[in-house]
């Protein structure tokens, strides 16, 4: 794949630019060595979520070609990525701004994390086996048609020999995945679907060679290669669905390029998070996420803890305060002394908890596994029963009995069964992917179909974590004008929301001078010679309101409170209405304050809600519901939801969630719109029905074909017809998903 780059070259460039300065003056030889080892070009990779058409390809490639230093670029529209070959001096940020200039949003991808080569190699190998099987199937079929239409004697033998010469190498090559997995199953004493498949392949080839040698009438070479082809097709579809999910999941992980700014002797140095040690000083700029656990040594600010605790209200942060990895710094720069980094940080400890919860999760038995568990014994019994019966009936005619038992195995071989699940899942997950849902786990759709209770988290899931002013109209115009002027000086989320809202209301900001932001407190300035402040309640001598608010004191006695609610995620109302219409029980559980949760529950019509929940309580609720025999779908985004996500029967998290939460969930919501969740439960129900229908269809074919095989009337022609007809019906049925 073009997107696979040489990660080594990429790293070299990174080091070169990092070690670029303070050291080179001191040690010029080191700089020269770095220069010599530095490749003259680098491969950069960017994600292009908005690319979708032919024009997008030309625009992006032309814009990049016009950028100095870029040697070549290629858009991969399937993966929505562009890989760029450029001089080492070109950085991803430059390219991102170039692309933003032509109207495409782009994100840097961490190339090291995208080494999808192993999956790719497997996919290519499967495709090659599939190609070989297809070639053989077509050629053998051509020869078989002549035999079926009445070739006799030496001509038939010749055709059988040629078919065998094509089919045997094909079965040996293309059948390897089945032989390997059947052997692996036998070693642990388990007969999966692959054992009857392998047995059928071996027996069909063996009996055909024997018959050809003895100038027999029936040879099953065409059946053996056709079996290979259809089963490999199912295997390939299955692989591709998983590969797409995996590469998108890798992309989500690669989006967060793990670098941070460390202060070394007062100088700012950018380092990878893995290289940070306890005791280092780390600088976190406003808008950045804490990379480590630490104690604030310098600076004041406010931090957003919603991902960790579910609180929607930012918390003040000043010297000596303890912050944990995953919190977002809002207003002022903070310098932290690292107390725990990497594997020891609270984020990582939480991820370990998730791993424990996941391994404790009772293993879900898929429909296919359940089908295989009763299917395999029946097939073997039938085949051996037929062998025994005909041995007895014909008085020990081994050749005839083996022929019948092989025909039974071939006819019952789960061709359609092998396609039944992958074809439906491919079609369903493709459909959901277009709606913005990424199915990370193979059995997630089947599990989703069983869901009867949906548990939602609030902050960041049902709401965007972005505030909205609620009482702008309650204040006199002059006060709003001053507040707007103060708010526009800050990048605090509440201030941005306030400034936006007043602009939309058509209110011009007043003239306020000497604007100054006091990180962690608010903004102050001079309005008509009077000091005015907008910020925290304590800073304005105001009484704190029950809900999220910012306070304006402009010397009119008591401070004015501007209250906020969290903005609803688009599609949240639609999703909940759809889920209720489907008869599912909805619950809301949040770590936020009672007032905020109650307001949201009322707005969405959720009657069953709980507030102030700790992470353990969320997980306990999910477990209780499970013990009551319910199948829970958990939708959440924060670290406080992770344990609950892992404990639930199936879980969904938005792409904006912390990576620990995304890792714990089975389905990721790629876009902002939540309405897709309603579609997902509906489609999963259909998926399950289609899978069962497919099982039914292939069983129906068997019901007709097996008596023929058992009584000895099955010819290779009947086997070929049953096999291809059932496979085609099953595939067509899968495409009916809406």
């Amino acid at each position: 794949m073009t997107a696979t780059l040489e990660p080594k070259a990429f790293e070299d460039v990174e080091y070169a630019s990092v070690s670029a300065c303070p050291a080179c003056a001191a040690a010029p030889s080191a700089a020269r060595i770095a220069q010599l080892s530095m490749p003259d070009h680098a491969r950069l990779m960017l994600s292009l979520p908005a690319a979708h058409c032919a024009a997008c390809i030309s625009t992006v490639e032309q814009a990049l070609a016009a950028t100095p230093g870029v040697q070549s670029s290629r858009v991969n529209l399937t993966l929505k990525r562009v890989s760029v070959d450029a001089d080492a001096a070109v950085t991803a940020d430059q390219l991102i701004s170039v692309l933003a200039g032509v109207g495409y949003e782009a994100h840097e991808l961490d190339a090291g994390l995208l080494s999808a080569t192993e999956t790719d190699r497997q996919g290519r190998e499967l495709l090659m086996r599939l190609g070989v099987a297809f070639f053989s199937m077509m050629n053998v079929m051509l020869l078989s048609v002549a035999v079926w239409s009445g070739a006799e004697g030496i001509t038939r033998d010749l055709f059988h020999w040629i078919s065998g010469a094509i089919a045997i190498p094909t079965v040996l090559f293309s059948g390897q995945p089945f032989f390997k997995s059947a052997w692996a199953g036998v070693k642990v004493g388990r007969l999966g679907m692959d054992f009857p498949i392998s047995l059928a392949l071996v027996l069909a080839s063996g009996i055909s060679i024997f018959e050809t040698w003895n100038s027999g009438v029936h040879a099953y070479f065409d059946a053996a290669v056709m079996l290979c082809f259809f089963l490999l097709l199912g295997r390939y579809l299955d692989h591709r669905t998983r590969a797409v999910a995996r590469s998108a999941a890798e992309e989500l992980a690669a989006l967060e390029v793990p670098r941070t700014v460390v202060l070394v002797d007062g100088a700012e140095v950018t380092r990878a998070i893995s290289e940070i040690a306890v005791g280092d000083l780390v600088l976190v700029r406003p808008g950045g996420r804490m990379p480590v656990d630490g104690v604030v040594v310098d600076g004041t600010s406010e931090v957003d803890r919603s991902l960790l605790t579910g609180e929607s209200l930012p918390v003040f942060a000043g010297p000596d305060m303890v912050v944990s990895a995953g919190e977002v710094n809002l207003t002022g720069p903070l310098t932290l002394r690292v107390t725990a980094a990497g594997k020891d940080s609270s984020l990582h400890r939480m991820a370990d908890l998730v791993a424990v919860a996941e391994s404790a999760k009772t293993k879900y038995t898929t429909l296919a596994e359940r089908a295989a568990s009763w299917y395999s014994p029946i097939v073997h019994l039938l085949s051996f029963g037929a062998f025994g019966f005909w041995m007895w009936k014909t008085g020990g005619d081994l050749r005839y009995a083996v022929n019948i038992s092989a025909a039974t195995l071939i006819i019952t071989c789960p061709c359609a069964l092998g396609l039944a699940v992958p074809a439906v899942v491919t079609s369903a997950s493709g459909r959901l992917f277009r709606k913005g849902l990424l199915i990370k786990h193979g059995t997630a759709l089947e599990r989703l179909a069983q869901v009867d209770t949906v548990v939602f988290d609030k902050t960041g899931t049902l709401t965007m974590g972005a505030p909205e002013v609620t009482n702008l109209a309650d204040h006199p115009r002059a006060a709003v004008e001053v507040a707007a002027a103060l708010a526009s000086a800050s990048s605090h989320p509440l201030a941005i929301a306030l400034a936006d809202a007043s602009r939309k209301a058509g209110i011009q900001p007043a003239q306020v001078d000497a604007l100054r932001e006091v990180p962690g407190y608010g903004v102050e300035g001079l309005w008509r010679g009077q000091a005015v402040r907008l910020g925290r309640a304590s800073w304005c001598d105001a009484d704190e309101a029950a809900m999220t608010a910012t306070y304006l004191c402009a010397g009119e006695g008591s401070a004015r409170a501007f209250t906020f609610t969290d903005r609803l995620r688009p599609g949240a109302e639609a999703a909940i209405a759809e889920l209720i219409a489907q008869g599912k029980t909805i619950r809301l559980i949040s770590g936020d304050t009672e007032g905020a949760v109650a307001a949201l529950a009322n707005r969405l019509g959720i009657t069953d809600w709980a507030s102030g929940a700790l992470p353990a309580e969320k997980a306990a609720l999910v477990r209780d519901l499970t013990l009551q025999g319910r199948h829970v779908l958990m939708v959440g985004d924060g670290l406080n939801d992770t344990a609950a996500l892992a404990a639930a029967h199936v879980s969904i998290s938005p792409a904006s969630a912390l990576d620990a939460a995304r890792a714990a969930s089975d389905i990721v919501l790629l876009g902002q719109d939540m309405a897709a969740i309603g579609d997902a439960t509906r489609i999963s129900g259909q998926t399950k029905r289609r899978i069962l229908q497919n099982f039914g269809l292939s069983a129906l074919y068997n019901v007709i074909a097996v008596p023929l095989a058992l009584t000895g009337f099955a010819t290779p022609l009947a086997a070929a017809l049953a096999m291809s007809l059932s496979s085609i019906t099953v595939s067509l049925n899968s495409l009916r998903l809406k």
Partner: protein, 52 residues
């Protein structure tokens, strides 16, 4: 029936050429971006002269 001695090798050869072409396409990574290739044919960027 002597014609079979020519026809069968010919048909196998033709099929073999197809198989070889498939292997070549696989090896030169032509199945990596099916959506992109389907769209690329619509662009007019290199209609006048080949891409350098």
């Amino acid at each position: 029936m002597e014609i079979l001695t020519y026809l069968i090798p010919v048909s196998l050869l033709l099929g073999g050429i197809g198989l070889a072409a498939f292997f070549w396409a696989l090896k030169t990574k032509q199945f990596d971006d099916p959506t992109g290739d389907a769209n690329r044919i619509l662009t007019k960027d290199w209609d006048d002269k080949p891409k350098p």
